[in-house]
């Protein structure tokens, strides 16, 4: 058993009485690829936002690399080594693709030349190299999703949180993206947590899967176990879940 990079212990969050997440716990081993799945409204993005510091959990603890991070601001969480993407993409529309990624790269290096070099490398890795000079506002949705990933990667995270980056991609584009994450995980040892509806990607990537339903973690395990789990089949995958 490897050391846990991220430990989430019994976190809960309510919005005006609605319990979005209740006592969710899981841990991500260092260097692993993990997926969080579940129906819409299950609380996946809420968990993401708590880990990323958008809001603090009402109860529970989040420990990253041995240090508690619940209650930190998003910028502090990012500085601690957690990069994230947004489900609804948030590009810096008026800036070029390269400048978007440079903003991320400037977290670890204060001067622009090394940041530009890093940003260019990340763009190449994601296949956005030829589009570096375009304004981000001119990108198509799949490219904007790639840009989200590129920006987060440029902050050189130890843990990468991916919020539905495959949604809207064609199967071949999806496979390319999967390859990018595998390679990243292999070469940099980056731990990955993805929220995903595209089961094709989840099954291809994830070593561990957590299933969320009505704010609770109802199952955890390897992909092969999850697809046979009766509770998961009932609430989420459905009977015809052939993956």
């Amino acid at each position: 058993m490897s050391v846990a990079l991220l430990e989430v212990r019994g976190i809960s969050k309510s919005f005006r009485g609605l319990r979005a997440v209740r006592e969710a716990s899981f841990e991500l081993p260092e260097g692993s690829i993990n997926a969080l799945i579940g129906p819409n409204g299950a609380g996946k993005t809420t968990i993401f936002n708590m880990v990323a510091g958008v809001f603090a959990p009402d109860a529970g603890e989040i420990v990253f690399a041995g240090k508690p991070i619940h209650g930190l601001r998003p910028d502090q969480v990012c500085a601690a080594g957690i990069g994230r993407t947004f489900q609804i993409v948030k590009p810096f529309a008026g800036l070029s693709v390269l400048d978007n990624v440079m903003v991320g790269a400037l977290l670890r290096t204060k001067s622009t030349n090394p940041a530009r070099k890093l940003a260019n490398e990340v763009l190449e890795r994601l296949g956005l190299g030829p589009k570096r000079g375009l304004p981000a506002s001119s990108l198509t949705l799949p490219d904007r999703k790639r840009l989200e990933v590129a920006r987060a990667l440029a902050t050189q995270p130890k843990l990468l949180l991916l919020d539905e980056v495959m949604a809207g991609l064609r199967p071949t584009e999806c496979d390319l993206m999967v390859e990018v994450f595998r390679e990243l995980n292999r070469s940099h040892g980056t731990t990955i947590l993805l929220i995903e509806h595209v089961m094709r990607a989840v099954m291809a990537l994830a070593q561990h899967i957590g299933v969320l339903h009505h704010g609770e973690v109802i199952a955890r395990g390897a992909p092969a176990e999850i697809v046979r789990n009766p509770a998961v089949l009932e609430c989420y995958l459905g009977e015809e879940a052939e993956v």
Binding site: A52, R73, P74, D75, C78, A79, G83, R84, F86, K90, P91, F92, A93, G94, L95, D99, M102, V103, G104, L106, L107, K110, S111, T112, A115, R151, A152, A154, T155
Partner: protein, 320 residues
């Protein structure tokens, strides 16, 4: 050298030799243009770069002017010392406003209202502050206009022209550096999308405060220039919201967030205002308020047809 640097160098050279063949009137118009270019550039750091709309920049011009002006008026202390007091006061004020707004999540138009409020109550405060003359104003001694007294910043119009030319050029260079530095990238990221900026590790509060500090410090300098160039200060004039609007029109017309937008905008607006006055006088239309109508129509046209300002479109045309 790129086309842009050749163009910039030519413009600089032209402005440097302009006094050789320009009369006093032309020189005063040029001084006015450069004054608005410089002040617009200062405002642009906050709005154009970092996306924080200040509608109360007259506050910093006024406080800067009164700070250096009062030191000179009461104690005979020249502007080179007064400058630092002006900058310190303006930065402190800016940081108070920034803290109130950014700490408590006041943004957009509400932030703009806060900036107006501060400018307005400072104006009222100075109206009741007899040490600086109250509503009757403060008048700096104009001892001589023949020789350059750089220590006290007293001298002929030519001295002021070169001073503001230097300031404008320095501000341009400084803003260019800022824009290409980490600060510039971070400010633009905050302007474009604050949530995304935070997620990339940017301490949004700190960088917004930095933008306010830089902008208010630069504007303080323009206040000191104003005090020693015009020599008379009235709260009613210097803090008035119309002064704040005057400052921001140039960068908006010229191109928000661009380096040359404030310069171009200041030139166009000042020349236009002068041109309309003279044009109307020539055709004999001396109807009160008609100048403002023409002025407004031109602004309307620019905003309608070039919503990003004139400079971006012009730069494309000229391949700069």
């Amino acid at each position: 050298m790129s086309r842009a640097s050749v163009a910039l160098a030519s413009l600089g050279a032209f402005l440097a030799v302009l006094p050789l063949f320009a009369g006093n009137y032309t020189l005063s118009v040029a001084t006015l243009i450069l004054y608005f270019a410089y002040t617009g550039q200062a405002w642009n750091v906050m709005m154009g770069f970092a996306g924080q709309l200040s509608l109360g920049h007259a506050l910093y011009v006024g406080v800067g002017a009164y700070a250096a002006g009062a030191l000179f008026f009461h104690f005979g202390i020249g502007p080179w010392a007064g400058l630092w007091l002006a900058i310190a006061l303006c930065v402190a004020l800016g940081l108070v406003i920034g803290f109130l707004a950014f700490r408590f999540g006041i943004s957009g138009v509400y932030f703009a209202l806060l900036t107006i409020a501060f400018a307005e109550f400072t104006r009222i405060g100075f109206d009741h502050f007899s040490w600086t003359g109250g509503p009757g104003g403060m008048f700096l001694r104009v001892a001589q206009r023949d020789t350059w007294d750089l220590a006290n910043f007293r001298g002929p119009p030519l001295m002021y022209y070169y001073a503001i030319l230097f300031l404008t050029a320095a501000a341009l260079g400084f803003c260019n550096l800022l824009l290409k530095s980490r600060a510039g990238y971070y400010w633009q990221a905050i302007r474009e999308n604050e949530e995304a900026a935070k997620a990339l590790g940017i301490n949004v509060f700190r960088w917004k405060m930095a933008a306010v500090a830089v902008s208010s410090a630069m504007t303080a300098v323009s206040g000191v220039f104003f005090a020693f160039y015009y020599n008379n200060l009235f709260p009613e004039q210097i803090f008035h919201i119309s002064r704040s609007i005057e400052i921001i029109l140039g960068p908006i017309i010229g191109g928000l967030g661009t380096l040359f937008g404030p310069v171009l905008g200041a030139a166009i607006l000042t020349l236009l205002s002068d041109g309309i006055t003279e044009g109307l006088a020539a055709v004999g239309w001396e109807i009160p308020g008609i100048k403002q109508v023409f002025y407004g129509l031109v602004l309307l046209a620019v905003v309608m047809f070039l919503p990003n300002g004139i400079w971006p479109a012009l730069a494309r045309k000229l391949k700069l």
